[in-house]
Symmetry: C2
Subunit: 410 residues, 2 copies
């Protein structure tokens, strides 16, 4: 008998009919003889409705109260799903974050899970009930309600699977699994059967929106096998698992893109020690995440510094940098929102040389100019003009033979 | 410096604008130098929306899950009110039932408060914040979410006032206070300046919908002065307090009516010991509350038994009684939904004779037939045909000189 943790996202429980369908799916899994814990998100649209209310009452809603409010979305769905399971003649019981002590830090709106009391869940499993747990929420050591940030229910599910040493954490969503790239751009994008935690982490943080990044970190740390699959079909999805030898044979597993960044360039920065710190410290203090940084070689004692930030924080970053420009005696600041970051990801890159060169020449062949480059052991990212986004993704997807047809040819 | 507990009902926080108005009222009270605890209901309509969802997903929603769900209404309003208070530049912090340990029994949907941990509230008051508490909800000893039944936020407020030994519990509502009778029937109904706990209890249970009955019981037990007043005006409302000497001088304080009852008569019941128990035990077991019971004197060894139950439970009661009729060998069962219970209430009745006679003759003068009579030390109730409801209320209101004009004449 296996212990299965299932997570259903907002689109899977968007209406009462869909909740009834999820109840049927849950009961089917129970019927195969498994112990079952189900984690649920808020009904699609509900969290947005609550956030909107909060922003109507206050320009900057207090984050503690914000969490009290938005966490109600999941509270409603766990009650409804439990009732729907009971209506099918099965025992179900719901739990909120505070009831099974999902202890987090006190970073309201983006708290991190520190601990989960698995005893209460284990005890309830003994009585053969189906356990339904509110995703996205926890409490801190002082008993304040916290939330884990958008997509946080994935992390709740994986954390519970880790705490219970579950055999699998199934993430049910509105797509069939993890694809080699965005199927809306590449019609021959292929669903991956499996992918390593590290690749999934890169892909998640680079723009693939299937899994919450933190949930993958958690899964990697506690070695929880994740199965990403569709709520609306019976087919197998993508397994996100520990790296194995077969994975290294695949050089590139996926192509991602992220249009949600902006590029800022500080022109003619005096090239002396401590300058970088003077530029990036005030950004860090304002809680702005800087993604890529490039500093050109110095000419006549001056250099240009370019970096990217997420689009929503670009305005604030610009304001800060305008102050810095005066302070350090640079000549100007420029910015560009019309960029896209295109990346290739694959654990096989570690053992294969020449992948970067292949990527650059593929883009060059299409006349696409590369503005910035950033690499890690298992990914290469290029910033290019936004207008080339789709062309670049399709080109790289073909170059590295990721499509349905390419695979079947082999 | 006084400690004030304020409670705002659903109509007082029905919209974001109204919540902003409540925030202003709260801040004004704080500005007068008081320590302040605020208890809030769900936004008007929200609880009904949630109940409707529950009944759409299950014919008989599990009561534990029902409470998990409907308690979210108050969770949203405390967050919104706290944000609105903060927007005015004041410190505010919200608490849910589990956070200040509002411990109840485990009677889901109609739990009773057993204990409140006043320490956390007291500690927060020291830091000069305004405390906003979710009404209607608690947790049982096992940590399950419970709710107190419709109107339960009144009880939350009074229980907190009792636990904190507050100077006053102000219940803000959409009427100006407690009236001598329903102003929509008697245009000269008069707002009472004060009323005793016992009178308020009788009036609440007889149909005046201003206060949750249990909140008055709580206030009486712990001697908490309640001030019922309007959210939408500055005028003083009605004090519900311990009985004092001046109250005894008023013979009748109010006239109430309740159309929400049905009358059931069992015809030709064999008059032998144990019969009453055979009739009412199955009703009690089915959790049906019986209000008035009348058994006529026996004739030839047979008697008629008549009783009233609340309208919603009448159908179920009838089914049960039809079974009983056969069992005990009675001849028939009759029922009547077109009745109203009209009552007069006043602590002065204890020391004044002839009040009942005055009531009966006033009704008789209008040609109103009395079907059933029930009395307590401080109230007299008559069941009459429903069509006479308004006439009876106006007649009794005039007879006992309760109107605005009658008082000013004195």
């Amino acid at each position: 008998m296996a212990l299965v943790v299932q997570k259903y996202g907002g689109t899977s429980v968007a209406t009462l009919d869909k909740i009834r369908d999820v109840a049927k799916k849950v009961v089917e899994t129970k019927e195969t003889g498994n112990d079952l814990v189900v984690v649920v998100s808020a009904m699609a649209g509900e969290t947005d409705r609550l956030i909107d209310l909060a922003h109507q009452i206050a320009d900057k809603p207090d984050e503690r109260e914000y969490d009290v409010m938005v966490s109600t979305g999941e509270q409603v769905s766990i009650a409804l799903l439990s009732m729907a399971i009971q209506a099918l003649g099965y025992r179900a019981v719901s739990f909120l974050g505070f009831q099974i002590k999902i202890i987090t830090d006190s970073e309201f709106t983006q708290a991190r899970i520190l601990n989960i009391d698995s005893e209460k869940i284990a005890k309830e499993l003994e009585s053969d009930g189906i356990i339904v747990i509110a995703g996205f929420q926890g409490i801190d050591e002082q008993g304040n309600v916290t939330t884990l940030g958008r997509g946080g229910s994935d992390t709740t599910a994986v954390a519970i699977a880790a705490a219970l040493k579950a055999d699998v954490c199934e993430i049910y969503t509105d797509v069939e699994g993890v694809y080699t790239t965005d199927p809306s751009i590449c019609s021959n994008a292929r669903k991956l059967d499996k992918i390593s935690y590290d690749e999934m982490l890169e892909m998640a943080s680079l723009g693939a929106k299937v899994l919450h990044t933190r949930s993958v970190e958690f899964a990697k740390k506690y070695n929880v096998p994740i199965h990403v699959r569709s709520t609306f079909s019976q087919s197998l999805g993508t397994w996100v698992v520990k790296e194995d030898e077969t994975m290294e044979k695949v050089i590139v597993s996926g192509v991602t893109y992220n249009k949600d960044e902006a590029k800022i360039t500080i022109v003619k920065v005096p090239d002396r020690p401590g300058i970088a710190s003077m530029i990036f410290k005030p950004l860090a203090e304002a809680n702005i995440n800087v993604d890529m940084i490039i500093q050109n070689v110095s000419e006549d004692g001056f250099t240009d510094v370019t970096f990217t930030v997420s689009e929503p924080s670009a305005k604030k970053a610009l304001e800060i940098i305008k102050g810095v420009v005066k302070e350090i005696g640079a000549s100007d600041v420029q910015h560009d929102k019309n960029i896209v970051k295109v990346s290739i990801v694959g654990v096989g890159m570690r053992s294969h040389a020449g992948v970067a060169a292949e990527m650059f020449s593929a883009l060059a062949n299409e006349g696409i100019n590369i503005m910035m480059i950033s690499t890690s052991e298992i990914k290469i990212s290029c910033v290019i003009s936004a207008k080339y986004a789709e062309l670049a993704v399709r080109t790289l997807h073909d170059t590295f033979k990721l499509g349905e047809d390419a695979v079947s040819e082999e």
